[in-house]
C-alpha cells in the first residue's frame, strides 16, 4: 500500500458513518485537516490581533504582514472597490495556504489535492463573481464578452471564445491548484519510493532529489495559494470594473 504513490490521497472515515438523508457526511481525514488548518489560522490570527502594541511581537507581526500583503494584493489587482471582499479573499488565501502547507508535513493529508475541494471553492468564486457582476452592471456585464476594438468580422468568433474562456474559469482555477498539489506530492512519494528500493547504495541520488523537491513543493504550496487568491482578485476586478 505504501508503495502506491496515490494512496496518500485516499480519503477514509474517522469514527462512525454519519448520514443525513442519502448523503454521507462522515468525519474523514480530509475533514480533520480542514479543521486543523482553520483552527491554526484562527489561533495564529487571534493571537496576532489580541495585543495592540506599537512594537509588534513576532506573531502580531506575522498577522499584520499577512494582512497588509493580502490587502495590497487586492488593491493592486482589483482596486479600492474590492475592499468589501477583502475578508473572503483573505480567508481563501489563508485556507489554501495552510491546507497546502499542512500537506507538506509527512504522513498528513493534503486537502487541496482533491479536485472536489478546489472545484467547490472555484465554483463558489465563479458564481459569486458572476452574481456581483450582474448586480453591479446589470445586463451590461455581458459586455465583458465583447472586447472593444475588435473588427466586426471577428466579433462572433471572439465572443464565443470569450464565453468559453469565462466558463472555463472555475475549471482552470480548480484544476490548477489540485493538479499542482497532486503532481508534487506524487512525485515526492515516487522519489521516496526510489530511495527505499535503491537502498543504501543508490538511494542517495533520489534522496537528494527528494530534499530539493521538498523545497520546491513548499514554494509551490505558497505560490499556488497566491495564484488562487490573485486570480480570484482578477475575476473580481472584471466584475467590479468593467473594462472591456
Amino acid at each position: 500500500m505504501a508503495a502506491n504513490p496515490m494512496s496518500q490521497f485516499d480519503v477514509y472515515r474517522i469514527g462512525p458513518e454519519i448520514k443525513v438523508g442519502a448523503f454521507d457526511i462522515s468525519f474523514t481525514n480530509a475533514s480533520l485537516f480542514m479543521i486543523l488548518s482553520t483552527v491554526s489560522i484562527l489561533l495564529i490570527f487571534n493571537l496576532g490581533s489580541k495585543k495592540n502594541s506599537i512594537l509588534p511581537n513576532k506573531i502580531q507581526l506575522l498577522a499584520e504582514l499577512s494582512y497588509t500583503f493580502v490587502s495590497k494584493m487586492i488593491s493592486d489587482t482589483a482596486g479600492s472597490k474590492a475592499k468589501p471582499y477583502f475578508a473572503f479573499i483573505f480567508s481563501l488565501f489563508m485556507f489554501v495556504l495552510f491546507c497546502n502547507m499542512f500537506g507538506m508535513i509527512p504522513y498528513t493529508f493534503t486537502v487541496t489535492s482533491h479536485i472536489i475541494v478546489t472545484f467547490v471553492l472555484a465554483a463558489f468564486i465563479f458564481i459569486g463573481v458572476t452574481v456581483i457582476g450582474f448586480i453591479k452592471h446589470g445586463f451590461g456585464y455581458l459586455k465583458l464578452f465583447v472586447p472593444s476594438g475588435v473588427p466586426a468580422v471577428l466579433l462572433p468568433l471572439i465572443v464565443v471564445i470569450e464565453i468559453i474562456s469565462y466558463l472555463s474559469r472555475p475549471i482552470s482555477l480548480s484544476v490548477r491548484l489540485f493538479a499542482n498539489m497532486m503532481a508534487g506530492h506524487t512525485m515526492m512519494k515516487v522519489f521516496g519510493g526510489f530511495v527505499i528500493s535503491l537502498g543504501i547504495v543508490g538511494g542517495w541520488l533520489p534522496l537528494s532529489f527528494s530534499v530539493a523537491l521538498t523545497g520546491l513543493e513548499i514554494l509551490v504550496a505558497f505560490l499556488q495559494a497566491y495564484v488562487f487568491a490573485i486570480l480570484t482578485c482578477i475575476y473580481l476586478n472584471d466584475a467590479l470594473n468593467l473594462h472591456h
Binding site: 448523503f23 454521507d24 489560522i41 490570527f45 467547490v120
Partner: protein
C-alpha cells in the same frame, strides 16, 4: 511499470474524467465520489466558520491595530516636529541673548576704557602742570642762585684776598679798593666761566 501506468491514468483522467470514473478503483482517489459530499460539507462548514470568525472578529481588530499604530506614529512625528521647532526657536533666542550680551559687554568695555583714558589724561595733565610748575620754580631758583653767585663769590674773594693781604703784608688794606679790583676781575672771568 506499475508507476508508469498510474501516471498515464492520471494524465488521461484530465481529459476523460467520465472514463476515469469507471476505471477509478486503481487510479486516483480524487475521482472516487464516495466522500465528495462529506468533503463538500466539511469544507463549507470549516471555511464558513473560519470566514465568519475572521471577518467579524479578527480582521477588524488587525485593521484597527494597524490604524491606531499609523495614527500614533503620525502623532509622534507631529509631536517630534513641534518639539524640533520649539527647540529651534529657543536656540535662536539663546543666540540672540548671547549676541546681545556680547554687544553689551563690548560697550561696557569701551566705556570703561574711555573713562580710564580720560582719567589717565586728566591726571597726566595735572601732573604735567605740577611738573611744569616745579620746573619753573626750580629754574627761578637756579636763576636766582646764578644771579647771586657772582656777588657771593666776589664777597668771598674780597674777604679772602683782604685776609690774605693782611697776613702777607701785615697791614690793613682798604676793602673798597680790593672790591673794585675783584669786581673788575670777576667781570672778566665771569665772562669766561658763564659765557654771558
Amino acid at each position: 511499470m506499475v508507476k508508469k501506468i498510474n501516471f498515464q491514468s492520471i494524465f488521461f483522467s484530465f481529459f476523460f474524467i467520465k472514463e476515469a470514473f469507471a476505471a477509478e478503483s486503481g487510479g486516483m482517489p480524487q475521482l472516487n465520489p464516495e466522500f465528495w459530499v462529506s468533503q463538500i460539507f466539511w469544507l463549507i462548514l470549516t471555511f464558513g466558520i473560519m470566514y465568519l470568525v475572521l471577518s467579524k472578529l479578527i480582521l477588524p481588530k488587525i485593521s484597527n491595530n494597524l490604524e491606531t499604530r499609523k495614527s500614533q506614529i503620525l502623532e509622534n512625528i507631529e509631536a517630534a516636529e513641534k518639539q524640533r521647532e520649539d527647540s529651534d526657536a529657543k536656540l535662536k533666542e539663546y543666540d540672540e541673548i548671547i549676541s546681545k550680551s556680547k554687544l553689551e559687554a563690548n560697550s561696557i568695555f569701551n566705556q570703561a576704557r574711555e573713562k580710564a583714558i580720560k582719567d589717565i589724561s586728566a591726571k597726566r595733565e595735572v601732573l604735567d602742570k605740577q611738573i611744569d610748575n616745579e620746573i619753573a620754580e626750580a629754574e627761578k631758583e637756579i636763576d636766582a642762585l646764578r644771579k647771586n653767585a657772582p656777588n657771593k663769590i666776589n664777597k668771598i674773594a674780597i674777604e679772602t684776598s683782604s685776609e690774605l693781604l693782611q697776613k702777607l703784608i701785615g697791614a690793613e688794606v682798604n676793602n673798597s679798593s680790593i672790591s673794585a679790583i675783584v669786581d673788575d676781575l670777576s667781570k672778566r672771568n665771569g665772562d669766561k666761566y658763564y659765557g654771558n
